[in-house]
Assembly symmetry: C2
Homo-oligomer: 120 residues x 2
DNA sequence: CCATTAATTCAATAACTATTGAGATATTGA
DNA sequence: TCAATATCTCAATAGTTATTGAATTAATGG
C-alpha cells in the first residue's frame, strides 16, 4: 500500500453509498454479493448509480468482481483493507506502544464474535 | 464512531496534504507539533492552506489542538483512529475469522518496533 | 433469433472542495 | 504601545465529484 493507493481508498470510503457497500461486503464474507442485491440493500439505488460507485470502489482496490452468469459478484478485498489500516497507523508507536494498542484491541475484538478460541 | 463521523474522517484522509499531516502526527506521538512545523514538513505550504486542512482534520475529530504561546500545537487523536478502524472492519469475521486476522496482525506489527514483549 | 434480465457507459448538470491572496486576530518581548 | 511572529478567516476562482436518464453491452432461456 503506497500513498496514492491509500488516497484513492480513503476517497472511495468518504462517500455514504460506497462506505455502506464496503461495510456490507465486509460482513458478507469472501463469497460476495451480486450488484443487484447490493443495490437493493442501498435503498434501491439506480443501476447506473450503483455501477458508478462499484467501479469506483473496484478501481480503488477495495473490492473485487467476478462474473457469474448474468450477474456480477462483488466481494471485499480484505488484504487491501488490512493494508490501508496498516498504512494509516504505521510507526504509531515510536516510543509509546500504549498509544496504539487500543487500536489493535478494537480490531481484534471484531474477530471473536461468538467463538471461544480467541488466540488470534 | 457512527457513520457520519466515519464519513467525515475518511473525507479528511482522502486529501494528500491532510493524509500526510495525520501520518506525521501519528508518528510524532501524543506531544504533537506546532502548526508552523507541520507546514514546513508539507513542502512549506502557505499558512492559510495549512489552517484550512488542519481545521478540516480537527473538525473530523482525527486531530486535536491546544495553544502554547503564539503557537497552536496539533496532535493525533489516537482513539478516533482506533474507532475508525474498528468501524470499517466491524463484523468482518462472520463465520470466517481467518479473513480479518491478517488485518489484526498488520496493525499489531506496528506496535512492536524493537521490543521483545510482543503480547499486545 | 427474440425477449428478458443484469449491469455498464455516456453526457449533462448540480453540488462540493481546494487553493490563492489579502486582511484580521492573538501572543510575545522590547 | 509597537513590531514581530504565528495562525486564522474570508471571498473568489478553479477543479473535482455525484446524480440522472437514455442508450448500450452481455448472458440466458424459449
Amino acid at each position: 500500500m503506497d500513498e496514492k493507493q491509500a488516497l484513492s481508498a480513503f476517497a472511495a470510503l468518504s462517500q455514504e453509498t460506497r462506505l455502506r457497500i464496503v461495510r456490507l461486503l465486509v460482513t458478507a464474507g469472501p463469497e460476495g454479493m451480486p450488484a443487484g442485491a447490493i443495490g437493493e440493500a442501498m435503498d434501491g439505488a439506480s443501476s447506473s448509480r450503483m455501477s458508478f460507485h462499484l467501479s469506483h470502489l473496484e478501481q480503488s482496490g477495495l473490492i473485487a468482481s467476478r462474473r457469474d452468469g448474468r450477474s456480477i459478484i462483488y466481494s471485499a478485498a480484505y488484504p487491501a483493507l488490512s493494508g490501508l489500516v496498516e498504512f494509516l497507523m504505521r510507526d504509531c508507536c515510536q516510543g509509546h506502544p500504549e498509544v496504539c494498542t487500543p487500536a489493535v484491541a478494537a480490531l481484534a475484538a471484531c474477530c471473536v464474535p461468538a467463538k471461544d478460541n480467541a488466540h488470534a
